[in-house]
Structures are given as C-alpha cells and as structure tokens.
Symmetry: D2
Subunit: 255 residues, 4 copies
C-alpha cells in the first residue's frame, strides 16, 4: 500500500489506546508487523507514561500517524492537528471530527471542512469517514488522497455492517487507497474487509480489548494477509445450486 508517496510494508495500522499495559502495546505492535500506529496527543503530554511510550515507538520503527480523536468541532480538530504536527514532527494527520458522543460517528460536514483547511495548510490528511460515497468525493476534492471509511461504530466489534456500501466505494474510487477504520472485531472481519479489495485496515479495540492482545495482533496480521491474498487470487463465485466438488465415481469405472 502506498499512501502520500510512502510505500508501507504492511496493510495493517494499529491504534495505541486501551491496552492493559505498555508491554502489551509494545508486544502487539511487534506481533502485528504494522507499518503505522495512530497516536493521540495525550500520549505525549500526559503523566509519566509518555516518555516510555515514545522510546518504545522509536524502537519498533513504526511510523506515527497522529489523530484528532475526541474532537467534536472543526476548530478543535484543526487546533489539535497543528499541535500534533509540532509534537510529532509529521504532516500526517488522521482526522476525526466526531458528530455524536455515543456512537462516535463522524460529522461528515465538519470532516470535509476541516480536511480542506488542513490540506491547504500542507497536511496529508487521513479522514475517518462513513461509507458514504458522496462524502468520499468531497474529501478527495478537499485534498485528501486516502479515505478511511468505517466498518461499524468505533469500539463496537460488529465487523462490516454494510459491506455493499464499502463495495460501492471500492468500485467508485478505483485508484484511491481505502483503509477500513473502526468496528472490526475478529480476524474474519479483517479478512473480509481485504477481500472487498480494500487496501488496509486500522484496528484498535479489537486488539487492545482481546484477552491476549499480543496474540490477537498476530492473528490480525495473518488475517489481513489472508484476505489480501484471497482477493488477488480471484475467489470462486458463490453458487446458489450446489455442484459436486469431487467428480462422481461410478463403481463400474473401477472394474
């Protein structure tokens, strides 16, 4: 997957919130083989964990994608993005403008506006969006070169709630990197996203909230590879009527 002229060695991105410990997070990043981790400003600025976290990240070699998690307005998101650029020394920003506190769903109006402001300001924006095709077009027009549609609400673990909408996006945005962000819960969800032809997935809760986050990170890495390879291998068509998978054996032929 190539985004903003950077070739990434993995189709998996990992969020860094909610892990039981820094050791679990470190293990998960390594086990996932991810090329990118998302980080919120709090990590850097809050209490003592910040320093260890930062050192750890450096050692894994993962590229940092700062996010604007928790921002509910354009102003808040833009301000946070600018602070993140200074703190993390990168033009990359995962843009979240939340429109509803319970479901954390994107406010697509604020999102497009903020994306335009940030792109004009030199940011390379990764917008967390819905599966709305028209919103996707506006984000591209605003300067985004990648889209991150949701699979389901953040932290729900429901998997792909509307695969047809994602399939429509894939068909429409043939040349645009699409990364499913949010809502995945199991390896089969990640594989299914990749089988739709998506370029990558971003996971957080599914790994951090698993009983064994490190093992789940490894499972997800395998699933992403499996789904991608399956997509490229051109799967059989689903058939309504069953056909023999082993040619029928007449006993007469054996004599």
């Amino acid at each position: 997957m190539k985004v903003y002229d950077i070739e990434l060695h993995s189709n998996l991105m990992l969020g860094t919130a909610q892990y039981p410990s820094l050791a679990h997070l470190t293990g998960a990043i390594r086990a996932s083989g991810c090329a990118v981790v998302t980080v919120s400003l709090r990590r850097e600025t809050a209490d003592g964990t910040g320093a260890g976290f930062w050192d750890m990240l450096r050692q894994t070699g993962a590229r940092v994608l700062p996010n604007t998690a928790g921002c509910h307005s354009v102003q808040e998101a833009v301000t946070t993005a600018r602070m993140a650029r200074e703190v993390f020394e990168t033009d990359w920003i995962k843009l979240e403008v939340i429109g509803h506190a319970d479901s954390l769903q994107p406010d697509v109006f604020g999102l497009v506006e903020a994306a335009g402001i940030l792109a004009a300001d030199g940011f390379q924006v990764f917008p967390y969006t819905t599966d709305d095709l028209v919103v996707g077009e506006k984000l591209l027009a605003a300067g985004c070169e990648v889209l991150m549609p949701w699979g389901a609400p953040i932290g729900s673990g429901q998997g792909l709630r509307n695969p047809d909408a994602l399939r429509t996006m894939r068909a429409h945005f043939a040349g645009v990197p699409l990364i499913v962000d949010a809502g995945l819960g199991r390896p089969s969800d990640a594989a299914a996203a990749m089988e739709l032809g998506m370029d990558g997935v971003l996971l957080n809760s599914a790994v951090a909230n698993a009983g064994d986050p490190v093992a789940m990170a490894r499972a997800m890495a395998l699933a992403v590879q499996a789904g991608r390879a399956g997509f490229l291998a051109d799967p059989m068509e689903r058939r309504d009527m069953a056909v023999p998978s082993t040619p029928v054996l007449g006993l007469a032929e054996l004599m």
Copy 2:
C-alpha cells in the same frame, strides 16, 4: 489437531478434485501446508494421471484420506471404502453418503448406518455430515471419533450458512475434533469457522476453482491460522453501543 491418535501439523485439509492441472494441485498442496489430502478412488484407477498423481502425493508428505464421494447408498459407500483401504493402505476413510443429487447433501440415515458398519470393520471414519447435533451424537455412538459438519452445500462457496448450529455443536461436543467440510469460499469463511472453535477445515472447490489456486491455497492457510489464533486470543465482545477506542482528549489537559 489430533485425530485418531495422529497429531496433525496443520488445521487444513485439502480435496484434490477439479484443479486445472496436476501442477496446480501440487502447488496448492505445498502452498497450503496441509497435513491431509482427500482422494477418491478414480484418481488411482482412471487413465494416465493416476501414477503422476500418486508420486506427487508421496513427495508432498501429505497423509491420504480416501473418500467415498459420489456414493448414494450404504452398500456403495461400504464397498468403496473397502476398495479404498486396499488401494491406499489406510484405515482412514472420509465417509460420504449422498442423499440428494443436486445439493449433494448427506443422507444422515445412510451415513450413520455405514459409519457403524465401517467402524466395526476397523475403519477410522471421518463422516461428512450436516450441522445436526443429534446426528452427530449417533455418529459418535457408531464409533466415529471426529465429525465433519458442512458449512454449506458442497461447491457452493456460500460460507457458513448456519453459524449458530455450528456453535451449538461446538459447545456440545467439547472434546471431539470438529472439521468444517464443504461450502467455504473465501479466506474469511475459513477464519470464521476457526473462530467458532472448530478444529479444522477441509477445502476443495474454494481452492481448485479460484483464479489462482496456488495463491488461494496460501491465503486459506493464513486464514486458518488467523482464525485459530483469534479464537485462542479471546476476542472482544460485540457491543451494541459504541465506545471510544481512543480516550477523549480534552485540550485543557494539553496546556
């Protein structure tokens, strides 16, 4: 996975029918890393391909599980099993007793009867069955030590048509190896089967009928590992209400 006291190094079994060529089949077996391949008698006895096929199998090191594909009666299945034992020099038999020509669904009555006859005759029976719990109990009572419930009709590629029924089987047959046989089409299907706690999957059409069978075999091998690892890592619960995967960031905290 351990079946009939044999420890298998892979959770994946592969059927050998319908490949575009012997080279594709060989490549798929190697790429899948499968420990077991199913074979019908015709392979051994039909025209010229038999010899090359047999040599190839030996070189892959995969264990042969002969099947009774295409048998529609107890008598036919038992006779075929006995011939297969002599030809393939193994007590293992994948027992299929087909009850419906179009859907190739098992005839569970004939299946239980044939399983009893063969088990009494020293066979180690792998019964291809439906997702019916009570039928599973009868098969175990008849002497089977493994069950192979379907995911969907043979060759349909529909995936898991009734995951609840498979989940019920898994809960009920806690100590019995369960291998999902038939109906899977994509890597995500194989992963989903393993996430239910199944011990393995048997694939044929999904690999043989893919555009690139060798690449699909590799994808399926990754998917089975991903699903198994995901199951063991204890996935998060699905949640009806979304929760933040990144703790909300108040700007005040940053100052």
Copy 3:
C-alpha cells in the same frame, strides 16, 4: 392450505402454552383467526384449568392438533399420541421427538420411526422436523403428507436461521404442504417464511411471550397474509446496482 383433505381457512397455527392467562390465550386465538391450535395432553389432564380451556377452544371453532411436546423417545411419543387420540378424538397428531434437552431440536431418527408407526396406525402425522431435505423425504415415505420444518430452535425467536435450506425444501417438495414451525419471533419473520412459498406457520412463544399477546396475534395474522400475498404477487428481483424508481426529470422537458 389443504392438509389431509381438510381445507383450512387460515395459514396460521397457534400453540397454546405459556400465555399469561386463559383470557390472553382466548383473545390471541380469536385475534389470530387461526384455523388450528396445538395442544398438549397436560392441558386436558392437569389441574383446574383444563375444563375452562376446553370449553373456550370449542367456542373459538379452532381445530385441535394435539402434540407430543416433551417426548424424548419413540415409545414415549407413540404412547402420548395414542392417549391424545382418545382424549381429543382426532387422528391428527403433531409429532415431536426431541433429541436434545437444551435446544429441543428434533431427533430425526426417532421422528421418522415414530411417524411410520403412527401413520400405519391410522394417524395423520404433522412431523416437527429440521430443514433437512433427506429427512423430509423419509417422513413422506413413512406416510406423512405435510412437513413442519423449523425456522430456528423452539422458543428462540431468532427467525429464519437458514432460509436457503428452507428454499431448497420448497423447490424439492413442490406439492407438499410445508409449515414453518418454531423459532419465529416477529411479524417480519412470519412474512419472510411465507415469501419463501411456505404454506403456513405455527407460532407459540412469539405470541405468548409478547408484551401484548392478543395484539401480537393480530399482527402475526396480518403478516402471514402479507407474506403469502407478496409471494403470489411475484416480487421484484433484488438488484445489485441501483436504478431510478422515478424517471429522471429534465428541466428542459418542463418548458
């Protein structure tokens, strides 16, 4: 729907267990307009409720279909059926042979055996069965002239767990009355069953356990009519690509 040469004026059958009161049951039967109610022996023989229940039934004019609910063996089911014939003075029997205490799923082996015994004894058997095509054939061969496949486990309210299997049965048993029994929860489930071409549905928990059983009975009656009428009206095909439902309006045409 015609079963065993009786023309029924409704496609809905109602079970009589689990209602909050006899008044609720009476109201539900009337509101549903059902032609048939299923009854277990206990109703007639247990404490004081029996007499009022029986009088009430007579007044509704609904035909009684005794059942063998709770029977776990052929012997128990056959004995119960014979007692029911004397008590209820009918050759009709809804045959249940339960194979698993938790899920109450049918034991298809015991079911076919008991059906054969009862049919030979002059009963008109309504077998509660799974969605297994081959089992259905055995039941017809045993003398049944109607099949009652499940939608989901009894009392689960899950709706149609495996619509493809029911669709296969419908296609295969073109001339046989098929009544979906068990597992339905909502009006849309009942409508969906009828849209598959089923001849009727039998409901119990969905009505008895609703907050307002009488209102739910009425809702279900409407749903069954809606689904049947929809089936007969030949629904549009589902389309993968959207098409306009209103012809596009060019402003030029308005001038």
Copy 4:
C-alpha cells in the same frame, strides 16, 4: 402518523413511477390504502397521460407529495420544488438531491443546503436522506420536521441494508417522524422497518415492478400494519439458547 400537523390515516406512502399502466397505478393506490402519493413534475407536464393521471389522483383522495426526483444540484432541486408548489398547490416537497448517478444516493451536503433554502421559503420539506445520524440532525436544524432515511439504494429491492444505523436513528430522534424511503422489496422488508419503530415507509419499485402491482400493494399495506402492530405489541427477546415453548409433559403426570 402525524407530519407537519397533518394526521395521516396510513403509514404507507406510494410512488407513482414505473407502473405498467395507469390502471395498475390506480389499482395499487386503492389497494394500498395509502394516504400520500409522491409525484414528479413530468407527470403533470408531459404528454397526454397527465390529465387522466391527475383526475385519477383526485378520485383516490390521496394527498400529493411532489418530489424533486432526478435533481443533481441544489439549484435544480430548489427550482423544481418551486415549480412543483405552483403546479400542485402544496407546500409539501419530497426533497431529493442526488449525488451519484448509478446508485441515486443522496448528496447530503446539497440536501441540507436545499432543505434550508426551501424551509426558509415556507416549504414543508420531506428530505430523502441516508441513515447518517449527524446528517439527520442538520436536516432538523435546517427546518425539516420529518426524515426519510433510505433502507437501501433506490430501486434495489435489497431491504434494510443497515438496520443498526436505522435503530440508532430511531433511538436518537425519539419525537421525529421517520419514514423509510427506498430499497425495500418485499412485505417482510416493510414489516421489519416498522418493527424498528419507524413511522412509515415509502414504496415505489417494489410495487410497480412486482408481477402483480395491485396485489403487491395490498400485501405491503398488510405488512406495514403487521410491523407496526408487532412493534407496539412488544416482541419477545431473541434468545441464544432455546427454551421449551410447550412445558415438558411427564407421562407420570397423566396417570
């Protein structure tokens, strides 16, 4: 259902496009018992059919809801709405601003803008929108007092593609009339929409493209009533584990 202070006697609205003949349309309107029909300007202005159509509508007594079908820009939609107000002598307007020619999905940006313009101009706007909660809030803020979220793309007949999103809308917009518009195909789809607590459904292709549009209109009317009544009757919970719907009958109790 009460919208814009008008109490409607039916929860069903019907589109008037695509019928095989005016007689079919007339029959469908009558059979559906719908209180409202949507009409595009072309009906009134095009060739000869207009007059008969208009007379027919008057006779059915159905209220006319003009729409802006086929409009792809704010300007086009606003202009069309204003012409429709004069032609049809009503402030009601079903607002469609299409964002994608293939799927006919709403352009939610144009939709909110046009809704604001029209509401300020005294229109009573019925916006055809997606299942996006935040967009719904913007439409209400723009002056709409009803929302018409899609079930699936127009004319697809896919039913409810994302019931969870609709459920979230229902919970969030407790006091707002919600009418599912577009994508329904079968009576069970209409019932399922009403079971979510929706206030109504708007149908067009599902009726017009059925083999027998008049019979399908009647089926849909029943389904809407069934779903609404089922919702109000408080359906049973879906249960993962089956429970007996008939209390188990011990033979001992019968003696």
